[in-house]
């Protein structure tokens, strides 16, 4: 800290941060209570705090690996919070507000539902903004890291979910359990393809598919053997060079054999199509033909080739990964691998709990849905659960939650990277705007006017104290004693808010803007006057 430069690594001052957090949480809590959607809001608030935690942990510079581990662990709760605050809120509200007695009530109820849901999401966003404002952790670089972590965490569950769902769908289609129609046709085609490769008709030779599988198996085996560090592991002695030459020659032979067999596949296809089995038998002689028939139509050999392909690719992949790992630093490995490990953990969790939770969750959703929707939902959900099984659905749900969290983090990143919100005051800006929104939508509900005005003043106070604290932290720093000046400033802001609220109550009280009596124009004039003042001020 020298001269008059800005403070190194500034953090917002403590008193202002306290004001921001208190004002945000109090305002949000009061409005949520007024909206009467407590549980989804609480879950959402937890998700908001964990989202802030993800961003914060991604910004750790000294313990990058540990931060990465923590961030990847927190991604799933973020997804849960987002779903709870949005879909959960709407579900709970819909269950409470519907069915309505008559069709005429539908628009009003929809507006009420939207307003309440907006109050909850706004309050949750305000909690997130206030949490990040405490340490000033939001910036584009950190959010980029957080996005990377979230994406990496989501990769394993996502791929596994696609794999599980794909194989379940294949099995379902091939089993012909579906009703007639497009599903049966697709099932037949799929079954034809798989039997062509794995269960060929034993009555005739199947040269082309056999050539493709054998060639692929040879090439995969070559890749696997080539990837293994065999020559490096052989002992150094006089005969060592000889070994190496032989091994390398063997590898080359594998490769060329594979290429030749694969290249022969089109010829085999032509032969297969052009020459009927009878002529082939006549050309080859019955002994050779029987051998060809036995070899090419043998399911065990096909299966062996398939496993060879799998093993070769797996060995090559694992060796490649190990080679990459030993060339990186432990911290780097930790920060790169931890999110993937976190994803595996999520999958394990899904496997462990999905048997119990999936059906309960579906039943709960059906329970929340009003009237006929509940039955329809269960009708749609039951076959899905039967076809895919609870585990697949659980993994897919986990992947979807992680995906949602990733979307949230990357959206934040986009907002900051485009400079739409200034990184310095991003936390308080989000909190303040969210509170404004919340207060505005609360105004639509049956909430007392004083409460709405208080929430508006709270929203402004959050922005004002937050921006003041950030600037003060940059110019003066946390070490200096700044409490009195901060409190004086906050008091001034509150006083002005009080005056504004008084004016608003006065206008509202005299009915100057009562839509039923007509003179809405007066209110609009007041607004226009204010905007004029604003223009003057900005000039």
């Amino acid at each position: 800290m020298t001269g008059h430069d800005a403070v190194d690594d500034p953090e917002p001052t403590r008193t202002s941060t306290l004001v921001v957090v208190l004002a945000s949480v109090l305002t949000a809590a009061t409005l949520v209570r007024a909206a009467d959607v407590v549980w989804p809001a609480l879950l959402g608030a937890m998700g908001a705090v964990t989202l802030a935690g993800v961003v914060w942990a991604s910004g750790w510079e000294r313990h990058e690996a540990a931060g990465s581990v923590l961030a990847s662990v927190l991604v799933l709760p973020v997804g849960v919070g987002i779903v709870a605050a949005t879909a959960g809120t709407v579900l709970v509200l819909a269950g409470g507000l519907f069915p309505v007695p008559s069709a005429a009530d539908v628009p009003g109820t929809v507006i009420a539902l939207t307003a309440r849901a907006a109050v909850v999401t706004g309050a949750v966003a305000a909690v997130f903004g206030a949490t990040t404002a405490t340490r000033g952790v939001l910036d584009a670089d950190t959010l980029e890291d957080a996005t990377t972590t979230a994406v990496r965490t989501a990769v394993v569950p996502f791929c596994l979910a696609i794999l599980l769902a794909g194989s379940a769908a294949l099995q379902f289609l091939e089993s012909n359990a579906a009703g007639p129609g497009i599903q049966t046709v697709v099932g037949d085609v799929l079954r034809g393809i798989t039997s062509l490769f794995f269960q060929p008709d034993p009555l005739g030779p199947h040269l082309p598919t056999f050539a493709v599988m054998a060639g692929a198996a040879l090439l995969a085996a070559h890749r696997g053997v080539h990837a293994l560090p065999i020559t490096e592991l052989l002992p150094e002695n006089e005969t060592g060079d000889d070994y190496r030459e032989r091994i390398e020659a063997g590898q080359r032979r594998l490769f060329w054999a594979g290429l030749v067999v694969v290249a022969a596949a089109p010829i085999a296809a032509i032969v297969h199509l052009a020459v009927p089995p009878r002529q082939l038998r006549a050309a080859l002689g019955s002994g050779l033909y029987d051998v060809v028939l036995a070899v090419t139509a043998n399911p065990a050999l096909r299966s062996l080739a398939w496993w060879l392909i799998l093993c070769g690719v797996a060995v090559a992949g694992v060796v490649w990964l190990l080679r990459r790992l030993v060339q990186s630093s432990p911290d780097r490995i930790g920060s790169v691998l931890a999110p993937f490990a976190g994803g595996v953990g999520v999958v394990a969790l899904a496997f462990a709990v999905s048997d119990n939770t999936v059906f309960k969750s579906v039943a709960w959703v059906a329970d929340q849905l009003p009237g006929k929707f509940s039955v329809q939902f269960m009708d749609a959900a039951t076959p899905v659960m039967n076809v895919y099984g609870f585990t697949t659905i659980g993994v897919a749900a986990a992947a979807a939650l992680l995906f949602l969290a990733t979307v949230a983090v990357s959206a934040l990143w986009a907002v900051l990277a485009t400079g739409y919100v200034e990184g310095r005051t991003a936390g308080v800006t989000i909190a303040s705007l969210a509170l404004f929104n919340t207060a505005a939508f609360a105004g639509v509900l049956d909430v007392s006017n004083v409460l709405v005005l208080g929430a508006l003043v709270g929203a402004v106070l959050v922005w004002d104290a937050g921006e003041f604290g950030v600037t003060l932290g940059q110019e003066v720093g946390r070490l200096a004693n700044t409490r009195r000046a901060e409190l004086v400033h906050a008091t001034g802001t509150l006083a002005v808010g009080g005056v504004g609220a008084g004016v608003a109550l006065l206008i509202g009280g005299v009915g100057a803007v009562d839509a039923s009596t007509g003179p809405v124009a007066l209110g609009l004039v007041a607004v226009l006057g204010g905007l004029l003042l604003l223009v003057v001020a900005l000039r």
Binding site: M1, T2, V452, L453, E475, V476, V503, G530
Partner: protein
Amino acid sequence: MSERVGRWGVALVGALTLVSVGLLAAEPFLLAATAVPLAYVLYGAVARVPPGASLRAERTVETDNPTPGEAVDVALTVTNDGDAALTDVRIVDGVPGELTVVDGSPRACESLRPGDSVTVRYSLLAKRGTFAFDDPVARVRPLAATAVATATLDAEGDASVTCANVVSEVPLADATLPRAGTLPTDSGGSGLEFHATRNYQSGDPVSRIDWRRFAKTNELTTVQYREEQAVRTVLVVDARTVTRVTPDAGYPTGAELGAYAAERLFDALGRTSVVASVVAVGLDADDVVGGLDPDDLVWVDPGGDGGTAVRVSQVFDGIQAAVANDVSDAAGRASGERERPASRRDADVATDEPPNTDAPPSPETDDETVPAADGGETPHVDDAARRLLARLPPTAQVVLFSPFVDDWPVTLTQSLAARGYPTTVVSPDVTRGDGLGQSVVGLERDLRVQSVELAGATCIDWNLDEPIDIALRASLADLFKA
């Protein structure tokens, strides 16, 4: 002077949100509620920095004559001289860039009524030299914080902090070195004490011919007296890059502390008319005014052209400059490198060295294998130490200033002991601190100090919590009584 800050954009967005939601939901109260954000817009628009604002600043440096490494308390008082209350006054004192704030903050933010004042207190870590403060800067905002006025204040009172290493009293008056003054040698020549006689050789001074003997035997004989030589004290300052480590941020480094101690001792020795040379090891050519000697050492002998004191102070300034260069060069990697045990790096250097030495085994390297007096082996010596040993006068006593963060001073001390030079080691303890790394380096340093004492050198372990004078006085007096 005052500048507008647009900071109520959120209120504008809020007002628009209220209007849109109000229209959407046909809720007239929300239109009325726009009065709240608009009140803030108005509030921000009318706010101004009070026109008659006037601030007065006074700075006091509360610590007199600080020594290097001591905390200097500074108090800056800013008073609101105007007749308007200032709700938001931010003050930043112009701390000299070279000094580090160790306690408190030179910044403040306060609300001041007319006549009120605020005092900013902080402590700086003193370094050798005089450092001028910049003028404090004040920034005033109105309550709405929508305008900013920034001004530089003329601070009354102290404008600089001076840390002079040499004070008027003689701190080492009662400390005696083992051979201050002259050293009787075992060779004949001119002197006071009888040594031997020998045949006259032409050119011998007439006054030393033994005339009585000539009268008796008619042979010309020359009387030889025991020669007396002035003892040279050589102060060796270890300022290699490894030693430029500091226990705390802003605290003087090991090299600087060694230089301070050497300067104190040099000054004290000068008063007691002991002949002292000063050597600095490990400096670069561009660190010292006048550059290095051909053998890459900076060696200042007394006498000569009469510029000794100037050259000596150039050497000490050079060490400070080297440390400053070092810090500015490697600001980023410094922290990592400094925490690393320095011995590793030096061990590497030591093992790499032999193949790189292109000179074949020379008399110099033969020197190394001369067994020590007690029959032990002389340790491996690197180039710098070898050049230093080559240049030491035969009758010197050596005082080595080094923080002992690597093995170099140990091998040097052992080589000195092997050659029979009486050696004193002054070692500032830069390894204090609770960190794991510091504890390890501290243990290594303790071992080195022990091995130096085993080699026969006198070791002064300078705990940085007490002034060097106390450490030197106690240790020197105690050690040289015998």
